[in-house]
Each structure stands twice: as structure tokens, then as C-alpha cells.
């Protein structure tokens, strides 16, 4: 196993682990804010949950970008043979 593969695996681990921190935190904040808003105004739950889902999808995209980078490093690395 040469250096490129070792560094790629470490890079994939770092990408997934650090890339999951802020999306998880911000998804938690978004869900908490939506919960509070639904508790205040239950009649707006439909609009709120639709907007919440779209927003969560946007936030989640950042984590999935990290996952894709990790997968590229592991399976489609341009620097390995």
C-alpha cells in the first residue's frame, strides 16, 4: 500500500467526519425552530413542514457533497493507477 492510498483513506475519513458536524448542528437548529413555530401556530404546520423539508434537503446537500468526495477518494481516485 503506497502513500497515495493511505492519504486517500485518511482524507475520506476526515471529509465525512468533519463534514458531518456543521450540517448535523444546523439541521438540529432548523428542526428546533420549526417545532417551536408549529407549537405556536399549529394551523401553519403544512406550510412549515414543507419549507422545513426543502430546507433540510438543502442543508443535507453539504454533508452529501462530503460523502461523494469520500467515495471518489476511495473508489475513483484519479491519483491511483
Amino acid at each position: 500500500m503506497n502513500y497515495v492510498e493511505i492519504v486517500s483513506i485518511i482524507g475520506a475519513v476526515i471529509a465525512v467526519s468533519f463534514g458531518a458536524i456543521m450540517p448535523a448542528y444546523s439541521e438540529g437548529r432548523a428542526v428546533a425552530a420549526a417545532m417551536e413555530a408549529i407549537a405556536r401556530q399549529p394551523e401553519a404546520a403544512g406550510t412549515l413542514s414543507r419549507t422545513l423539508f426543502v430546507g433540510l434537503a438543502m442543508i443535507e446537500t453539504m454533508a452529501i457533497y462530503c460523502l461523494v468526495i469520500a467515495l471518489l477518494l476511495l473508489y475513483a481516485n484519479p491519483f491511483v493507477g
Binding site: T47, F53, V54, A57, E60, Y65, V68, Y75, A76
Partner: protein
């Protein structure tokens, strides 16, 4: 785990053209939808039978959601967005059938669907607003923002593709790892979660496509 999730697994060849498992599953789903809907709606009656009533409930629920997002008559957009949602629901739930894998878990199916959304956004924008006003909205609020507007068109379609692909593929990965580590019956809760994830991702893909189209026809800012 040894095979790359980015590579298609080839089932068989038609002449020189390789047919992957995702393509075969997609054909099976399309055939199922076409045959089922033609059989169910062969004689649509005014007093709807149970199957026709269920289908009407589904269609009207989709129409209600689209009307809330688009803020205009949703019926011109229904053939695209409704069949997108129904196909994605079936495709994401394909893992329920033993032996089948969701075609959306491979990169080519989300790429094709995202390309359809990309082209239809411009089609609906030009048809509803006219070519001139539609192209002018790239210059708003300032002509200096033209490169960023064009870039955001491309990146949002790319993220639409990657989101669907990443969610479905990573879920397959999680199940494979849990089976590998824990054994036979342990992944059943994850399979239940997979049904939820599949329907939510179909919903999100359709809602985002609707939001992009709504922005193109000038209903909302995005």
C-alpha cells in the same frame, strides 16, 4: 463492498450496448406503471370504483401541493411533476421487492432525471414568460451577477442529482455494513427507515423541481 458504487453492474448485453441492473429495473417499473394505469383506467366511470378513486386521491393530493408552491394553475405542469413523483416513489421503494435494488442508487438514473428537470425548467420558463423576459431574469438584479446566475443554474441541478444519488446509495451502504457486522435480522429497522427515506427523497426531488420551475415561470424568487 468490493465493487465500487459508482460503477454500473452490467446484467446483459443487447448487441454492443450494455444493460445495467438499474436500466432493467427502470424498464420493469415503467412497464408496471403503464400496464397498471392502462388496466385501471381503461373504462373511467363517473361513479369511480375503488382503484380509480384511490388514483384520483393521489392525483388531487399532488395537484394541491403543486398549487401551493406554484401559486397558479398546476395542471400544465402535472404530467411532468406528477409522473416524476410517482416514478421516484416506485424506484426508491424497489428494494422492497427481494432481489431488486433501487435504480436511483446508481448515478445514471438521478443524472437522467436531473437533466430532464434542467431542460424542462427552461422550456416552461420560455413558454410561460416568453424568451426575452425569461432570459432577462438572468440579468436581475444586476448584470454583473450574470455569471453567478448561470453558475447557480448548473450547481443546483448538480446538487439535485447528487442528493438523490447520495441518499439512496448511502442507505444501501449502511444496510450492507450492518449485515456484514451484525447478521441476518438486525437490519430490519434500517429497512423500515429506508422506506421512509425513499418517500421523503421522492418528495424532496419533486418539490425542488417544482420550486425551480416556479422560479422560472416567475411565481416565486429562488
Amino acid at each position: 463492498m468490493e465493487t465500487s458504487p459508482l460503477m454500473p453492474d452490467i446484467l446483459f448485453y443487447i448487441g454492443p450496448v450494455p444493460i445495467s441492473r438499474a436500466v432493467a429495473t427502470t424498464w420493469a417499473l415503467m412497464a408496471f406503471m403503464a400496464v397498471f394505469l392502462l388496466a385501471a383506467l381503461r373504462r373511467p366511470a363517473h361513479d369511480a370504483g375503488p382503484v380509480q378513486a384511490a388514483l384520483e386521491i393521489v392525483v388531487l393530493a399532488i395537484v394541491k401541493q403543486l398549487r401551493e408552491i406554484l401559486d397558479r394553475d398546476p395542471w400544465p405542469f402535472l404530467p411532468l411533476l406528477g409522473s416524476l413523483f410517482l416514478f421516484l416513489c416506485l424506484a426508491n421503494l424497489a428494494a422492497v421487492v427481494p432481489g431488486a435494488t433501487p435504480p436511483t442508487g446508481h448515478i445514471e438514473t438521478p443524472a437522467a432525471l436531473a437533466l430532464i428537470v434542467f431542460l424542462s425548467v427552461h422550456y416552461f420558463g420560455v413558454r410561460v414568460r416568453g424568451a426575452g423576459p425569461y432570459l432577462r431574469h438572468y440579468l436581475e438584479p444586476n448584470p454583473f451577477l450574470l455569471p453567478l446566475n448561470v453558475l447557480s443554474e448548473l450547481t443546483r441541478i448538480f446538487s439535485l442529482m447528487i442528493r438523490l444519488f447520495g441518499n439512496m446509495m448511502s442507505h444501501e451502504f449502511v444496510i450492507a455494513i450492518v449485515v456484514f457486522l451484525a447478521g441476518l435480522l438486525v437490519p430490519i429497522p434500517f429497512l423500515l427507515l429506508g422506506i421512509l427515506i425513499g418517500i421523503i427523497q421522492a418528495y424532496i426531488f419533486t418539490v425542488l423541481a417544482t420550486v425551480y420551475i416556479a422560479a422560472a415561470v416567475g411565481a416565486v424568487e429562488a
